[in-house]
Symmetry: C2
Subunit: 218 residues, 2 copies
């Protein structure tokens, strides 16, 4: 017979997966709005964030309920603790998608500063990191979680290149300042999304192995 | 006789307080280095971050141990769950202090862009928020936690003013671009610190009342 805790953990996993799906979609809409110059997509981001916030509260409630009624141990306990943290990261990823939207809204009121440099590539790398860390969580895939950590270096490198290039634009053409600044802030938002995906990957590794690999530990 | 769980929670509280002390000090050193133009203070930030990261791991281990061995319920359980989250926010505040230091290091290689506008005031407001949310946590002070939430609006307002002013500098004087951009990124780091303090205040309110006030819920 299936244990009660397994039933509750399965329902919780479903909830996290739905939430992760909303986060992925919000990032997609926010970045595609920018790349395709389709501001009407941004409204969808705000709707998705509301859903993400509802999930945020539900996941926390479910975790506390399992802790209170099932007294999980060992791997189950690690999984619940990891889920509490992953939930926080997913919610903040929703906030970052909203930040991208706000900066994107301002950016899209002016003519394009072309090209968008490596921003589309950075957005695509970040979306892949988000997808991978969630897949690693669901499939209990340690190797995939470890791959997310490596990918974060690529994203950070792209951010630095984008920063340098946009800074040059601002110095040489004062009419580009406002737009270049918005793009710099968006690159920063994307970098933060990559950091959150990295945090989730670290939590997955902890849940699966009991090893805390943060801060070069263990 | 004192319950075993009370002894462990007291030790955990001590750990969080030490960690919070390191975070406060790191923010102080990072912002004072900038304001007083004393880059030698920044080394101290990096040392403090290492300490913060060590605490981060210890706090998580202590929380998991209490959950596994004491099966806490009701207020105790809420307190442990809140501590897991507060621990994450404190660690990321350490990261933000390091980010301020990196941006500050670059800023301090060039002559001052005077004035620093409202950055010193913003830094002081943020440091007060950090102090208040930790005091609220230790003293179980609900009113103080609620005050932190209000203070975040002031910090966000200051950030917007600082952004506008620095954007104008960049447009009118191309030699200011690099420095103004560094200050914009520092203002963004300070805003994030305020957000983390707000998250901690919300977790304190949850631990004390069982109410989840995030996302206008409750």
């Amino acid at each position: 017979m299936e244990r009660q805790i397994d039933i509750e953990i399965r329902a919780l996993k479903e909830l996290i997966l739905n939430m992760g799906g909303c986060v992925e979609k919000a990032i997609e809409e926010a970045t595609q709005a920018l790349i395709l110059r389709e501001p009407q997509r941004l409204q969808r981001v705000y709707e998705l964030e509301t859903k993400i916030n509802e999930h945020h509260i539900q996941v926390d409630e479910a975790c506390v309920k399992i802790l209170a009624t099932q007294s999980p141990l060992a791997a189950d306990l690690r999984w619940i603790v990891a889920t509490i943290k992953i939930n926080t990261d997913l919610e903040r990823m929703g906030d970052q998608a909203v930040n991208i939207s706000h900066n994107g809204e301002r950016y899209l009121t002016e003519p394009a500063l072309k090209p968008l440099i490596d921003l589309p590539r950075m957005a695509s790398e970040v979306r892949q990191m988000v997808r991978s860390c969630l897949d690693a969580f669901v499939r209990k895939d340690l190797a995939l979680a470890e791959k997310v950590l490596e990918q974060d270096d690529i994203v950070d490198g792209l951010k630095n290149e984008i920063f340098d290039e946009l800074r040059n634009y601002m110095v040489t053409d004062s009419t580009s300042v406002s737009r270049a600044l918005n793009l710099i802030l968006i690159a920063r938002n994307l970098e933060r999304l990559g950091d959150h995906a990295t945090n989730i990957a670290e939590d997955v590794i902890y849940a699966l192995t009991g090893k805390d690999i943060r801060h070069g530990h263990s």
